[in-house]
Symmetry: D2
């Protein structure tokens, strides 16, 4: 590594299955113990050239990881608990993972009912908590000598909530922080801190975080790209690949029944109906936007769409989905498609997080700020400036490509800003 090359810091809120799979994975790839399948920034070409070169992305060995968590232990302990990666591989990576100990976090049991706060910041006032998080970011910058930092929200899905009066602009929000306003969730305090420190923010979950007027105001004001919500990994990924094809062929759909079994912490949290509601909204909307039942009532007007998530401990992180699609063909004859996806939640999510960190940074370097709609490719419920998001994966892919090409052209012209 050229010591003069600028490093990139990646701070993750929540050091659970996904975050540790990312950190351990990057360490494994550097040691040639695995390859970054699933990460476009590492595997894909952009007009024939490796994407990482075209966009002058930092190399993996230029990344510095850190984060916050309310559970005990370091990243190795967390990775062991998550049980995503094989014990053999983890053993090889133990020294690298032991180096990363999360900073103390903030917790509010009203927003996260099935988790326990064991490592908490001493501050109880929300504004003071925000200040403490900002100081964490600055300290991380100094300690690792990194100029740029991206913040990734990988925390457990919080209880469903909606934007309220306190989230309308920064003036009101800051006052509310000081008054310990109950509609301000921990995730919002992290987002606020990141945006104040000019760190691009990625929301990997259905929680609101940056999908609020106050955050968009701050993102614009501070020149910070933001994106979300909810990484599109298993079932929804397949749904947004498959549904557009069925629609292009003008096949009717009478029902789409989507079932999941999973046994990780995410599954336990989603067993709380209040948390599931946020997830369900995120999972249901895609199909509706793709199929347009109002435009094609004969084909999709009667669609019965259901999404179920079941906490099933034997499966651990190896999430499994089963979909049944009742297709209507010529003259109304019925057909069925069943899809059984034996997937791995964090294995699918980790490369997306890596891409999002690197591309959010690249976006900031090329002067982009606010909601990055072209990153919708990565999300179940893409955040948009206004209107409805695009869910069709092939269209999202095209838009991603167009944005990347434009950024690559800027990169060629002006070089990296850093």
């Amino acid at each position: 590594m050229d010591s003069g090359t600028p490093r990139l810091g990646i701070l993750m809120v929540g050091m659970g299955a996904i975050s540790t799979t990312l950190v351990a994975g990057v360490a494994a790839i550097e040691r040639e113990l695995g390859k970054p399948y699933g990460a476009l920034t590492q595997m894909a070409l952009l007009d024939g050239a490796p994407m990482s070169e075209a966009l002058q992305l930092p190399k993996l060995n230029q990344l510095r990881f850190g984060g916050w968590d309310i559970a005990d232990g370091d990243a190795f302990d967390a990775a062991q608990r998550a049980a995503v990666l094989s014990p053999l591989l983890l053993r090889e990576l133990e020294p690298a993972l032991r180096e990363i100990t999360p900073m103390a976090g903030i917790h509010d049991p009203r927003y996260l009912r099935r988790a326990e706060g064991r490592r908490l910041k001493p501050q109880t006032n929300k504004f003071e908590q925000a200040e403490a998080l900002r100081e964490d970011i600055r300290a991380f910058r100094r300690r690792h000598n990194v100029d740029r930092v991206v913040v990734l929200w990988c925390g457990s899905t919080e209880v469903f909530s909606s934007p309220g009066p306190a989230h309308q602009n920064s003036r009101i929000f800051e006052t509310a922080l000081k008054q310990d306003e109950p509609t301000i969730a921990p995730s919002m305090i992290y987002a606020y801190a990141a945006l104040k420190e000019k760190c691009p923010f990625v929301n990997a979950t259905p929680t609101l975080t940056v999908d609020l007027p106050v955050m968009l105001e701050l993102a614009e004001a501070n020149g910070v790209p933001v994106s979300g919500k909810d990484l599109k990994t298993g079932q929804t990924l397949l749904k947004t690949i498959l549904a557009p094809g069925l629609k292009q062929r003008m096949l009717g759909i009478a029902g789409w029944f989507s079932m999941n079994i999973l046994g990780n912490q995410d599954g336990a949290v989603l067993d709380d109906p209040a948390a599931f509601r946020a997830k369900e909204e995120s999972k249901l909307s895609a199909l509706n936007h793709i199929l347009e039942p109002a435009v094609y009532p004969e084909l999709y007007g009667q669609l019965s769409h259901q999404v179920k998530i079941n906490y099933y401990p034997p499966r651990g992180d190896n999430k499994e989905s089963w979909d049944n699609i009742d297709v209507i063909g010529w003259l109304g004859y019925e057909m069925q498609i069943k899809i059984n996806f034996l997937c791995r939640d964090s294995i699918l999510a980790a490369p997306l997080l890596l891409d999002l960190a690197l591309l959010s940074d690249a976006a900031q370097r090329s002067g982009r700020k606010g909601v990055q709609e072209w990153l919708g490719f990565y999300f179940k419920s893409p955040q948009v400036k206004q209107g409805h998001p695009e869910h069709d994966l092939s269209v999202q892919y095209r838009r991603l490509q167009e944005a990347l090409r434009e950024m690559a052209r800027q990169t060629e012209k002006v070089g990296v800003r850093s």
Copy 2:
């Protein structure tokens, strides 16, 4: 129906499951006993307007059907044998189907080993057979008072063959016809007759038919659009929807095992390994072109792709496919996708045939001729002028849309040519 509206003739070679499902379906739709699910020309919008209006397509009651077959009976008998549609529905449509009796066909047991010729033209010389077929087309035009006729090849898949010296140009081909050249298959004689009569030709099977230099020469010379090969219905349809999405996400694929069980005549014919070879080539190529293992050797270089077709009588026309996809994620962790498609072969194929007939006619009206690459959306193994075909369904869809929009603009400007 406005008696002044020009009718369109549709002649089908092979009055089997697919053709009779098309004819019976159109009759059912006219009687409001079913809807044309799966047919873009009947269900889709083009920039907000019904496609059939935008392109001024003939209405269903303006279509006149006919065809050839070497088996006994009329279209009702054939539909009963095919057992695709419910006996109750067929009973309602009996009068309409009894009106259509196929014309005598031509047969060569070297090209179709598992079928028996029971209704054959008296001519044995191939050139004379071609002349007789041409006269059939002219007689059909007169009888039904139709100006324009499209010919659809829906015959059983012939034994695998490759373009040879006799297929190079029309001069050689016609001499070879007169000399009963053995490398000229029945399907080619039909194609030749259609092109000489300026009828757009659609190849619904993997058989060569119009994918030969002589046919392309004739298509250009006579101003005839042609398209093929092999309707993309069940398993390959899903494959070309799903594979691009997995690739866009840079997920590796170690294996794709595709299995089919079907019990119709098509299954019995494909039980002949020589006939299966043509089908297999058609089914295997799509994945390779989509995934580009040469460009992405780490992801797809080791792919084990297998396609099996099993003749399983209990299932009849209700084809069923089972796919297993071995996906490789982050660090090489394995995941699996299983897809079980309980489909109906002819129910999926019939609306595609209808679209192809109407769009081939529209293409001819707007002055298009030769290979219609934009119709690749409908085919497993799209015929191209040169180079490799596009298999990604979403890209095919975009190209179809672009061509349709251009044709719609022409239609607006100059009205229908007929």
Copy 3:
């Protein structure tokens, strides 16, 4: 038919999908429009002879059907609503089905929340209702000139309840009836009426009905065989076939996840959590009894067993189950079995009902009374005199065979009592 042959009356409580599929099926079989697949009494051999001969069972044309319902219409209307059988077949059977109009029933919305009573007896006092039902049975006997009558409970699953003080003996129960005791459900009033009229009673659902001390007292006193609960049709049938085999091989099971989608009236009723609870108890217990986790803690001590039922309208009566079984093999290596059963609820249930009616009658003829444990073969949650029921289908089958052989020997010796 020999006019001297004694007829058998079959009265069904609830003229829904299952009852009408039984009645219509018997009519279809008599007209040679179908065969009684799934009914041992019609298809099986007993030591080489047809079972119906060995046990001198009534022929199908000696059966007379009737019943009660709270919905409008006759058996044809009900069969059309149920949409189990094809419209074409129903049309053939219309005259036979029109002949059967259910008698007015009794209803209590506290026990059946998602149904509406449209045809109700005028009596409101429970004891008077019981008397009215008894008179219905006697009138049916006279009208059809039948000596013996079997009553089948096929009503919707009532809200979960447990035996209480009012159900302890006939004296208390009759007093409670007169006092309109709220813990007496409609199903119990039907069961009481049947037992008082000496009619064998079969409980096809998880509702308590005859699984109460008072009913067993009456059954013993009046010489009446009773059996239940909950017909073992789709998923649980497969479970009680498969689980014993896995256990015999000493394979461990970490989890068994059972999911159902169905769209019929049964599904809508089970969407009520209170009704589902009764069903769930019934569906969960089988596995526990078969696997004996207390005896084999290493193999089954950690088993996560879940059963889900989802109301999914597109499927109608064509219930579908999906099971995932996490199997543990040698050294703890994990394997998975997935079973997808595309079944038909009433098609599976109707032949069981026929068997139960005929065998309950045969049992009464051979002097049996009280709980018929040997009929456990037919039930998800077999009613037993005391102790735990047997769930292993192969053991249940052996016990059924033994009882039938004994009854056949009695039949040979003494002829039919009638």
Copy 4:
């Protein structure tokens, strides 16, 4: 371990996936790195007592393993090639596995076409080969100080062959051995050597080995129990659990389509159609014997039963089966059962081998000889003295239990003979 306790030697022909999974597994279990799931002798109770105690079976640490192979390397190398067990586990067991080096084997490419002989005995005459194998057994006995030895045939499936003149009795067979008779396969030479040395012989594959008159004569004469053929592990296990249940319920079956994908050496060998034929015979017969189409022609007379095995490298030893069963219910209505078994070939087979070794030895100790029909529980194609074998797993289990109980009673009375 009591040093006075007699040890048991287990010699395996073919040190491949199954054998090494057995040897490594026993080593792992002794070290408490895993449990013997799937082995009745280790996990099951016999009338409330552990089976191993009731039958006074040797403990795992009293077993001594050895064998023959024509491939290079020791048991650790073979286990690594087989890639059944995790590298981490194998590493722990390396010392134990390194101790076992197979003895040189005998090979005949006419019987095993897709394998290469790298470690062969110098003898080329078949009789001399037999003598050398006998000497191997005697040497193993001396070296490990074991009195009793069981021989397990775990070799690759040989080309299909049938009993011929040379296999009729020991006189003819021995002359034929000396004359290098081509119809004597290597497997027969091993079986002959074992029987001459009074070693119980277990045939884990569909190859003939001991299913020949000469072998049965020797088994009787020498007091040796024999059993086979073809371990019942994945798909056929499920089939013989499920089919009896469907038949007990008198459900019709129109078709049973059984498909397998596997990528291990077994799969590669079965890609040879001649080897597959032996396997196919073994896999097809079970269903026919269970369903008795001649007795129940309406239910099973039209059954289309197909078994396919596909060599699919990505899967390795993790065999996967997919079954589709077309079930016929009441009035002929169709239902479907799909079973997808993600299994592990050697993980399922290893505990069966262990059971068979211990139980064959126990049988010999209690004076049993010749074909052990009660061991049919373990085999796809159970060897019988005469007549047809029982395939129904629950009946096989009952017969196994009865034999074990009888042996346990003998054991109690007379103690172990050793």
